[in-house]
Amino acid sequence: MNFTWKIGGEAGFGIMTTGLVFSKIASRSGFHIFDYVEYPSLIRGGHNAYEVHVADFEVTHLKPIVDILICLNKETFEKHSSNLNKDSFVIYDKKEFKLEGDYKKIDVPFKKILAELKGQGVMKNTIALGASLAIIGGEINELLKIITEQFEKKGEEIISFNKKFAEAGFNYAKSNYKKFLTNWLTKKNPKGSLVMTGNDAFSLGSIIADCRLYCAYPMTPSSSVLSTLAAWQDKTGMVVRHAEDEISVINTALGSSFAGARSAVGTSGGGFALMVESISLAGITETPIVIFIAQRPGPATGMPTWTEQGDLLFAVHAGHGEFPKIVLAPGDVKEMIELTTKAFNLADIYQTPVIILSDMLLSESHRSLEKKWLDDFVKRYEIDRGKLINNSKFNPAKGGTKLQIKSQNFLRYKITNDGISHRLMAGTPGYFYQANSYEHLEDGHTTEESKERLKQVNKRNKKTITYLTKHFQLPKTYGDINQAEIIFVAWGSIKGSILETQKRLLEKGKKSALIHFNHTYPLDKDKIIPLFKNGKRHILVENNSQGQFGKLLQQETGIEIKEKILNYDGRPIWPEEIVRKI
């Protein structure tokens, strides 16, 4: 089974909630999902759409044909009819608009049902969702269960009131459109899958990694991390601070990190721009920090609710002066969990900023994630705080180091072979040291001496070499490079679209491979060059206009990928578009 369900309507009428409810019903019925939302930067009055790709195999992106479209208004049909074919179901209310064209039309009297049941306009989506479930053979009980969960706190009366609308839509479609009923969503063996966005995965990942302080200023599309972690803090014990601006955000986190708490911040490009001076502060003071950036199209305010991979080079080069920095770009929700948890370890190990680059597509689209995988991952994951000396919680089994310090003069920036110095838990009795934003001696005091400057610059640079040896991971290859006619090169969230593209190409008899980078910066030249020595056709695919990763790859390795497919209209790149452009 492989179909797309889509709902559209006016902003403010519960489109997002309804879409997520559908994704959960599909997941609970044993299917894989990938969903995608379109919404303007408005609270009321714009057009919202929510699309869910459902299949009994793993799905990573959308497909071109919408198989069932729910039109809560005329605009939905007008905007999305180009994705319909004659077999597509269209659910609408003929009292609202006349539906022209050859489709499987399902007229549901939304207005009449609302009037009869004395409902508010926002309940139209519940009627429509119920009707759609009837058509695709879904179980109404799954929807009723979710309604119960949603309104649990509001009491039995509200629950049963809402259920009436779901049942009304379901029953109407079931009894009036018998000829159209399908079994697309007939329950399989549910594997206990989770339905998560990239932002959900970052939030959960930060908790798994024992992040104790999250600081942010709301900015689309990163804001749901702030609200999720804030909602969890009573339970998790994390402190979540919504500070006055992004400069305060990152400096709060650097303060708490200096004091020994794993700390993170989250924002989008504009907020990150405000943080940049402090990224440099983290670099020279060697303070661990994890920075989550959910990219959106810029420059400046740009298109706040849309997607782009436009801040890669900005993130890589952020901060004045030279210092090590690690940039990771997860390709999907699972990688977001893996790399977020890894980022906190890397920040502690290398005592430097680690950036997680997401974008609206990854941050706000839900994907299925097998719960068992997550449970196993949590068991496997180990916290590694690197060379932090915490005498009160010293545990050699967990890689902790106990250091005998002879004098008060703790060498916070001691020259070492790997470039990493011991970091004594600030507040440890008997000692003191400073994290100095000026160039400094090994003990932290300010210096402008040539010899000392060289020592410290070399020490910091060495951390990059250590990282490349110990923690850098080569790009993952999807498909067989030896057999492939075409090799796609990509980074971050665009992975899902290319994996779908590969399937389409294979249907046409074309073999392809994908080299996908999620350890985006720094890059190990010596290890990467051999991957590209095959004389094959490489195509760079990115969601930006300048091929930023291509530039980075060339800068770091000398490899130039001449053929590029770039998309920068604020939408994710569609597999069909890639197929067409090849």
Binding site: K24, S27, G192, L194, V195, M196, D200, L204, I207, I208, D210, R212, L213, Q233, D234, K235, T236, G237, M238, V239, R241, A243, E244, D245, I247, S248, V249, N251, T252, L254, G255, S256, S257, F258, A259, G260, A261, S263, E277, S278, L281, T285, K371, D375, V378, I383, Q408, A426, G427, T428, P429, Y431, F432, Q434, A435, N436, S437, Y438, H445, T446
Partner: protein, 283 residues
């Protein structure tokens, strides 16, 4: 018991006669007087002549960015709220570059002490005007005199919710010691605005200028009276400078109101591991 020497780092590089020498001594004396030692004090320094105290004072410290010491201090306090956290900053640093952080730290009643070296100029960049300079003050960046009126940091702190607002004069070390001690002991946001001559670049607001215009608040002054405090802090418009604790009230601090760190400080808590209770919402 600690001694002044325990807190003493490198010899200061401030100009001879600079008010910073007195502030440095007062600060160290206050810390000793409170029974603290370099391991129990967290200090965050801004950038400027004031911030250069980083090398002269022993403590767990961050020598921060210009303007950003306050959020660093807030972060330290949240992570380890049982320690004393002091931000040592300048007027351009705290009221100019970092003005926004100053306002919001007052609002949050964050339990940190902010000691502002207020000398009306940017000393380290050789004498440009600071936001506290009087209108018309001529400097390298304002040769025709500054157009803006000065900021009123004490009034700002009061109106934005600071629970301890004090002013001292760098020429009076013994009062500085007492007031800094009170500020550090205060639970909540405490501001100590230090009127400080810059002997190299400010030829107007020198020791004589201040000596003629400062006065001590009377013993019977009611420091918990907001309206009275408001009257005091606008005396600066008449070039009168009250010295002492102008305002002090007890209110819950920011960290007092975080239930998650009621029992244990943030860095000492056990790791949260009940992930399945969070995952439920994604099913």
């Amino acid at each position: 018991m600690s001694l002044i020497q325990d807190f003493t780092g490198y010899p200061p590089t401030w100009c001879p006669g600079c008010g910073n020498h007195g502030i440095g001594i007062a600060l160290k004396s206050a810390l000793v007087g409170l029974g603290l030692n370099p391991s129990t004090v967290f200090a965050v320094f801004g950038i400027g002549c004031s911030g250069n105290m980083n090398d002269f004072l022993n403590a767990y410290a961050i020598h921060a960015l210009h303007g950003r010491a306050i959020p660093n201090a807030i972060g330290i306090k949240i992570a380890n709220h049982q320690t004393k956290v002091i931000a040592i900053v300048g007027d351009g640093d705290c009221y100019g570059e970092g003005g926004n952080h100053f306002l919001h730290a007052c609002r949050g009643n964050h339990d940190i002490t902010v000691v502002v070296h207020d000398n009306s100029v940017y000393g380290l960049t050789t004498g440009q005007v600071a936001p506290t300079a009087r209108k018309g003050y001529k400097s390298k960046s304002t040769p025709a005199g500054i157009i803006e009126v000065p900021i009123n940091p004490l009034a700002l702190a009061l109106t934005q919710g600071a629970t301890f607002v004090a002013q001292v004069f760098a020429g009076n070390v013994s009062q500085m010691i007492e007031i800094i001690k009170l500020a550090i002991q205060h639970r909540g946001f405490s501001l100590v605005n230090v009127l400080q001559p810059c002997v190299s670049f400010n030829k107007i607001n020198n020791y004589q200028y201040y000596q003629k215009r400062v006065y001590f608040l009377a013993n019977e002054y009611q420091k918990n009276n907001f309206e009275l405090a408001m009257k005091k802090v606008v005396e600066v418009n008449k070039e009168k400078f009250p010295l002492g604790v102008i305002y002090q009230v007890e209110k819950p601090t920011f960290t007092d109101q975080l239930p998650q760190i009621k029992k244990e400080v943030l860095i000492e808590k056990d790791r949260f591991t009940d992930f399945s209770s969070l995952v439920k919402e994604f099913t």
